[in-house]
């Protein structure tokens, strides 16, 4: 068995979360979700449930022709099943912060900005939160700035929202009614205690806690032989570092 990289295990786990989707869209700076979506698409190629993948930063895999607003219009219409969002900070109620840490607007550390999160989080049914770094500074009790809230009152139109959070240490599901995360899977390199210590918010534990599933050799072959060259086209730095160094 060849050595499998951590990023490949996460790509494989994310790919498993896309199994019933018809259309997955990938936004800015998301090489791991992008790789996962293309992997799911390739594996379903010869089945009846085809997966449409829209990667905005690609020429070939961007299915839109009406400019960059089309992603948001299509999402609001319910044409996108899954989208990924990240965050400088994510808190226990699934509020996400893409703006920075400290007191707004004169922040201690400014990050890029909210991108499309303030609409996408509301309208895409399955939002997967993805943040590789799993530490008390990224997964916090309360975010310093809410780019998009995890939950909304009933008088706000909100067919969508957070369903999962995946990090390099664990996979969580989000329960909208209980306003909390529950751990579903853990990276076998860490103990539950280590995960609890590196999470700034409280989460529900799970009697049936599973380990991250190791991708099969067949899946790794598909990923490295068929997906990696595609990813090289639109996330060159990421692909070179992981697969072509």
């Amino acid at each position: 068995m060849t050595e499998i990289f951590q990023s490949e295990i996460i790509i494989s786990e994310i790919s498993n979360l896309l199994k019933d989707d018809k259309h997955v869209a990938i936004g800015a700076a998301s090489p791991i979700p992008g790789s996962a979506a293309l992997l799911a698409q390739e594996e379903r190629k010869n089945t009846n449930l085809k997966l449409q993948v829209t990667i905005l930063h690609s020429q070939k895999f961007n299915n839109f022709t009406d400019g960059s607003r089309e992603l948001f219009d299509a999402s609001a219409q319910g044409r996108i099943d899954t989208f990924f969002l990240g965050g400088v900070q994510i808190d226990g109620e699934a509020n996400i912060n893409l703006v920075g840490t400290g007191r707004y607007p004169k922040l201690d550390k400014r990050f890029s900005g909210s991108f499309g999160s303030a609409l996408m989080y509301f309208v895409v049914p399955k939002i997967i939160l993805f943040r590789e770094e799993h530490t008390p500074r990224t997964l916090v009790k309360k975010v310093d700035f809410i780019s998009a809230p995890g939950i909304s009152p009933p008088n706000i139109y909100r067919p969508g929202g957070p369903k999962y959070l995946i990090t390099n240490k664990a996979l969580f599901s989000f329960n909208k009614k209980k306003k909390s995360f529950k751990i579903e899977k853990i990276n076998p390199e860490f103990t539950l205690d280590e995960v609890i210590k590196s999470t700034g918010f409280e989460f529900k534990t799970n009697k049936n806690l599973k380990y991250f599933t190791m991708p099969s050799q067949k899946r790794i072959d598909i990923l490295r032989n068929l997906i990696a060259p595609k990813v090289l086209n639109f996330y060159p730095q990421f692909a070179k570092k992981l697969w072509f160094n």
């Binding site: 607003r69 890029s112 900005g113 706000i156």
Partner: protein
């Protein structure tokens, strides 16, 4: 021979007046870097940048060069090359104002101007700190009885008209029509701008309206106030079908921009070399 008056990159930069509201295209829709350098050389001040919906090296350079007073954007980032250091420094030290937004809101505000209506509603946003910090945004009860959400609250955004838009494109035809391909957000920007100037890689001896396929990918000359040739005009950003992003130069910039001193040094070199032809 072309049927419009060709101008130069320098002419375009002169149209960018102090304190104007300048439209900024995203990294994928033709970044006008050649004009950006001239704006910096002109020491233009007080610019208000309106990004659709984000900016990379162009915004970061303008901010680092002291040309910017305010930015309205969904993000400033160098993408795969990391955070935008001059932008970060400007925010953390209160050197510029920021109107933090989200991509669909930046589109919607221009779409309101396209339709000449005073505002545009948009779902989402409520419950975010974006909303709390925008006193130009408002919320209403949905006045139509057509939503499955009872007593729905919805955000309204003001129409925004730009003073000037500049972008780089692949081709203009002999009548001054500009090929924008599927980058339709450039049309949205142009429709909502008082003045529009374009730099192009080449001017071709044809009329795009002779072909239905080409016409569909065209910004008509009626929205364009001036065109200049600028070969490699988006460098070091990429231009679809022409050249990729210059990874070495972007890495070099990302490193240099970390500190004001090294940024200033980088900019002295960057400005003095002639990376663009057909000025």
């Amino acid at each position: 021979m072309v049927n419009f008056t060709q101008i130069t990159v320098k002419d375009i930069a002169k149209e960018v007046k102090d304190n104007c509201l300048l439209g900024i295209p995203a990294d994928y829709s033709g970044v006008p870097m050649s004009v950006t350098i001239e704006i910096i050389k002109n020491k233009t001040k007080g610019l208000r940048l309106y990004c659709l919906p984000l900016t990379t090296i162009q915004g970061d350079m303008l901010i680092g060069s002291g040309c910017v007073n305010e930015i309205e954007t969904a993000a400033v980032t160098l993408g795969e090359y990391g955070q935008a250091p001059r932008f970060q420094d400007a925010i953390e030290n209160s050197k510029i104002n920021i109107k933090d937004s989200t991509c669909p809101a930046l589109h919607a505000q221009l779409q309101a101007t396209e339709k000449s209506v005073p505002f545009m509603p948009l779902r989402g946003i409520l419950g975010s700190d974006l909303y709390k910090n925008r006193n130009d945004w408002s919320v209403i009860d949905n006045p139509m009885n057509n939503s499955n959400t009872n007593d729905e609250k919805i955000v309204i955004l003001p129409a925004v008209q730009l003073d000037i838009l500049i972008f780089h494109a692949s081709k203009a035809d002999i009548n001054g029509n500009v090929q924008i391909g599927r980058r339709r957000e450039l049309a949205t920007l142009a429709h909502a701008s008082k003045k529009v100037y374009v730099t192009v890689e080449e001017i071709v001896d044809e009329d795009f309206f002779d072909s239905e396929l080409k016409a569909a990918a065209t910004l008509p000359s009626l929205y364009v106030d001036g065109i200049s040739l600028a070969k490699n005009g988006a460098w070091p950003c990429g231009l679809t079908d022409y050249y990729d992003i210059d990874t070495n130069e972007m890495s070099k910039y990302a490193k240099a921009a970390k500190y004001q001193e090294t940024f200033d040094e980088y900019m002295r070199d960057f400005i003095s070399q002639n990376n663009y032809s057909n000025f």
